[in-house]
Symmetry: C2
Subunit: 699 residues, 2 copies
């Protein structure tokens, strides 16, 4: 990647001296920061902005690694041929008109890629804005020079954006805001060759980058992305475009991406410890706050305890409303803190969290009051983080923020500010706080959501290296079953066969007996004890209930007989039968395995039964799953209370449930021919999961 | 209320010439706009800011309606006595230190109220910021004069804010933003006397007010508020503080309000057609947009069809993601619109919604392209509303927004703008759009949520006057049951008695027979046909299942016998028994009535069963309920799909279900002694609701 970020020489193909033209901006931007040789390329000119202009790339003499290409799409393949001839290492194609516009564009893009791969040339783009490296003042992009040259604010947040124009507009806006210090901005467009994973890997090693934020519509190498993220110490924030079916439709016409199954992606990002954003500025607000090196003392299994310092009761209440939504709690201030706060607050005002410090401010002025109260709350071990409401106005309310915060420099307890006030008073207050390293926000909801993101960092993440293949020795009996399956070439294992696999793994399945005729059925049922279940087995029949092949709750021989007779009259007559005891469970779960084309195998856990299906209550995680990841997976379920001993039922044994999920995961890893597994229902009987029905589907 | 808004003379109690003091700001603010006589009152001065200063209110000569009081809380009662003596009509108490600080403050507040009521003096506050009337330049508040005197921007949004300081800071911020035209701002604080309902009524009639936005922590006269809102033509926006249990705790210390049951309030606000906001600026963004008189063509039962015009694919996708969340759909553009859009867009770029018009902009410049595309989308009858993304930059991107929008003046199709760009370019673009009446936003999510609020206006609302008491003649048999109940003075009707009330209303209940002994039970069961249910009836026993008094699924006489015997051995031995057929339903619902102290009786509908209980899936509406309100109530349920014929079951007959809900509502209205009704389960058998168990509780 280095030749993209630090090239020895750059050709600008499509350079022009014309005003307001991207080809002119590209050259200007280079001259404003890039120290190596710049070679404009355009057959129409001999000179561009004082630099010698070449007819074609092949004519250039001197050191040259990289071409920035900004010519109409149909002309790009020839340019790339030239680049290959000249032995270039990279080309950033900023033109559009490729895969994002339809099949014709896609085939043009494929042609470009073919030329590049044959010639060992790496392509960045097409349909992108290129890259910016603020510390080197490298702007390899067509963005307007006036926008960045004064405003570039080097810092430690790097962005990877799958979009061309939006990134240009967005970056331009951010720079004007002065509240984010950017390190590197990578606009990767259609990502025909260079994609997010490779750049993520590069940025994880980049000493200028402390936080990475990505806008993505798809994950090209999902599994690799996950592995990098899960073992990264640098915070990663993702805004995923195309979460809904509606926008998946919009997305196809854009950068030709698959929008993916969002509940799956949501689970994977949580598992990897990736912070999720819903909007562009929210992504940046989270990233710039995570850059600040707050020190977090809250243990992972506890809700973060937040103190609110306000000048108003109402804003404290609304902040609390949002905190509840984001899983945080109000800190119970220690007696000592209360006493300290009371020193400035008049006796008639009860001091509690949220702290309404208006009476103190009125009496002692804002500087003294804020210094006193922030200090007291910061020192309280019961307070994990602090949200401070500030009104910046005139007169009494003209706050000297630098003075107020001067004593806090060494405090790394998370402290976020919500700012209110007329623009002229608010802006200097905002900048003073930001310069001192204290993030500010203009909406309460945003302040709270960012605080929640800060505390997500306390959750323990399992790097994949912490899980060993040796954790799962394949039992001999399972190997035997797999061999049998290969010999018989069965694609869909029926429930009886599937459950043999689970039994071989030591997982609990319902007792059952295969029977061939009615007499056998009645004998077995009599032995087993009523009530029983009769199931008819027909080849490749997955949905037995819908086909009339499951008869529940049979209480005597007569009922077994009529159930049996009924099945014999079905169109899809069963070939054999199973008798099982009718288990009485407290809860129906479903578990299973799916394979995602980008992310690979993932394990699924959901609330079973018709009602839960309507509430779409499922959680996904990539495999192998570590047992420490099980509780968080369970807590993704909206109906998690049902697993914790609801209405007097026994709580689900999380260890046994974890065992199921972990082993299903290993199955899919050790037997790559497994396409899908469905355990439905995984019934909870006396707290223990028991598979009552299941299918394993092979490729 | 007129004497508050247009008083004949104003006394300022606590007036002072001291800098930075609220008592000085109060006088200054009056001198800057108020035309009537101003009387500073403070025993320490003879003159304040050039005005004669009085020792006490009673000393004032000349016309006088209103006092603004800003002295320490303990001094307020004496001031009020003076006001009464002088025959004032109103007092705005802006001091704090009353009910919001605890029981002592509350009793001080009660003392004030007592003085006022005795003397026919109305009190506004205490603990408030007073009022602002922009059209008259009346600022009866301690806010800093510099903030408002240049920035006051008269308009048509009025605010009612239950908070003192926050409203001051908030209003100050809004004025600086120049994007909201305010009519009247009423900060009502502890609302000891004047409260939101009275002001709402006043503002509904106020010719300057087109939209009313309220921040409230409680509803003092909930029922009246609902009735005003439900029949209002002016849009009403509410931000309710204290939605969560956490913040309810915070709220108590603030303005001494009850936070209320949020699912109930949520249902009531929907029923009244009130727009709900979650944050302060969101409230204002919704209100200022609703002020714009957009013309809505979308019929109520259809998702609004939105077109997105963008300069980028990515922002189109993220907008679409948020649209899905807010219940809107992507418009399918008509062939004619597509042809018009293609006129400027190059052939290689497929035109569809979201419209990525960058290639056209690049070719023809933004002015021509935006004029052309906005015109085409506005004219498309398939488009209900339009979200336009604008990047405001320099050079090519220096947009002349007034020129672009000049042809749209007559279009009242909702059109909202998302603005991106560096501050210096964005601010003039924003102001140009806002001045022309086109709302702008800086976040995608906000833009979409506001668009959703605009279309909420298309939903039909039922004013309470459309429902007549005559719709519900009480049947004679019901009157008889009610008399019996009064005679026996039963507080809790058991299920048998409760179901008699429902039967009298023509509602369907499960068949049942009371039996006295085992023989009778078996005989009845044999007649009824198995399986049956045996229930034991014990006085005032509401939770029968938990008490072992319900035995389901009895298949024969033996099972009836053992169930019967078991109950006889219970500690809480039943006094009598019921036999019912074991109904097989497709779905368990719960329905009922509660009485809210502020809002009065409300009907509840929920998904029954343990699982749904965990998902807290309930909807509330105030009664009487109109049958046209039933579908929206049902659609409040997250599991609504279960009612619509899930997995081959028959859809619930909404007319019968509505009949249940409407009649339960009338019961609670006609029999005020009913405290609570629980119908649980209301089983759906073959699409029809049947009460299987129920209780009516009387006061």
């Amino acid at each position: 990647m280095d030749f993209f970020f630090e090239p020895k020489g750059i050709a600008v193909v499509g350079a022009t001296p014309e005003r307001y033209h991207g080809g002119q901006y590209l050259v200007t931007n280079l001259t404003l920061g890039y120290k190596g040789p710049i070679y404009p390329v355009n057959p129409k000119y001999n000179e561009v902005l004082g630099l010698k202009c070449y007819q074609k790339v092949a004519d250039i003499e001197g050191p040259l690694d990289l071409a920035l290409i900004f010519v109409p799409a149909p002309a790009v393949p020839q340019v790339l041929e030239d680049c290959v001839t000249k032995g270039l290492r990279g080309a950033i194609v900023e033109s559009s008109g490729f895969a994002e516009v339809g099949p014709e564009g896609k085939s043009l893009q494929d042609r470009c890629l073919h030329i590049a791969q044959k010639g060992r040339l790496r392509i960045w783009g097409p349909n992108c804005m290129g890259l910016i490296d603020t510390s080197r003042r490298h702007v390899f992009s067509f963005i307007t020079p006036e926008v960045w040259k004064a405003a570039v604010n080097p810092g430690h947040v790097s962005l990877i954006v799958q979009s061309g124009l939006l990134s240009a507009g967005f970056i331009t806006t951010l720079m004007g805001n002065k509240t984010i210090g950017l390190a590197k901005v990578c606009s990767i467009g259609n990502k025909s060759d260079v994609e997010e994973t490779e750049l993520l890997e590069y940025l994880l090693k980049d000493p200028d980058t402390k936080v990475i934020a990505l806008y993505l519509e798809s994950f090209v190498k999902g599994r690799r992305f996950f592995e990098l993220a899960a073992s990264s110490d640098k915070p990663i924030v993702v805004l995923k475009g195309g979460k809904s079916p509606l926008s998946a439709e919009a997305s196809v016409s854009h950068t030709a991406s698959l929008a993916g199954n969002y509940p799956l992606i949501d689970g994977i990002l949580k598992q990897a410890g990736v912070h999720q954003a819903d909007d562009f500025f929210e992504m940046v607000d989270i990233a710039r706050t995570l850059e600040r090196d707050f020190y977090l003392q809250s243990p992972p299994d506890q809700k973060p305890k937040i103190a609110i310092l306000s000048f108003s009761g109402a804003s404290g209440i609304v902040t609390t409303d949002h905190m509840e939504k984001h899983g945080m709690s109000l800190a119970r201030l220690s007696p000592q803190t209360l006493r300290r706060l009371e020193e400035l607050s008049p006796g008639w005002m009860p001091v509690k969290n949220p702290v309404d410090y208006w009476p103190a401010i009125e009496k002692h002025g804002p500087s003294k009051s804020y210094i006193h109260a922030i200090g007291a709350l910061r020192d309280d071990p019961e307070v994990d983080g602090l949200i401070v409401h500030v009104f910046a106005g005139f007169g009494l309310w003209a706050l000297k923020m630098k003075e107020i915060m001067s004593g806090m420099k060494d405090s790394r307890k998370p402290m976020l500010f919500w700012l209110l006030g007329p623009e002229k008073a608010r802006e200097p207050t905002r900048l003073a706080l930001e310069e001192e390293g204290w993030p500010t926000f203009s909406e309460i909801n945003r302040t709270v959501k960012v605080m929640a993101s800060v505390f997500e960092r306390t959750k323990r993440r399992i790097g994949r290296s912490q899980i060993s293949e040796l954790d799962f020795p394949v039992p001999a009996s399972l190997k035997e079953l797999a061999l049998q399956r290969i010999r018989s070439n069965t694609k869909i294992l029926d429930e009886r066969e599937s459950k043999k696999w689970f039994k071989a793994l030591g997982l609990e399945v319902v007792r059952e007996a295969a029977v061939k005729n009615l007499d056998e059925a009645i004998n077995v049922a009599n032995e087993m004890g009523y009530p029983v279940v009769l199931k008819g087995m027909a080849e490749e029949q997955i949905h037995k209930t819908e086909a009339g092949l499951v008869k529940l709750n049979l209480w005597n021989a007569d009922q077994v007989t009529s159930a049996y007779q009924e099945m014999l009259h079905l169109k899809n007559k069963p070939e054999s039968f199973l008798i099982q005891p009718m288990l009485k469970g407290d809860l129906e779960l479903i578990a299973g395995i799916i394979r995602d084309p980008q992310f690979g195998p993932a394990v699924m856990l959901g609330l079973g039964g018709v009602r839960a299906e309507v509430y779409k209550d499922v959680a996904f995680r990539l495999v192998p799953l570590h047992k420490e990841e099980v509780p968080e997976m369970v807590s993704d379920l909206k109906g998690q209370a049902l697993l914790k001993g609801y209405r007097g039922s026994k709580p689900v044994n999380l260890e046994s449930l974890g065992d199921w999920l972990i082993k299903l995961g290993w199955l899919s890893l050790k037997f790559e021919e497994i396409e899908q597994i469905d355990v439905n229902p995984l019934l909870i009987v006396d707290g223990e999961p028991v598979a009552v029905d299941a299918t394993i589907i092979f490729r």
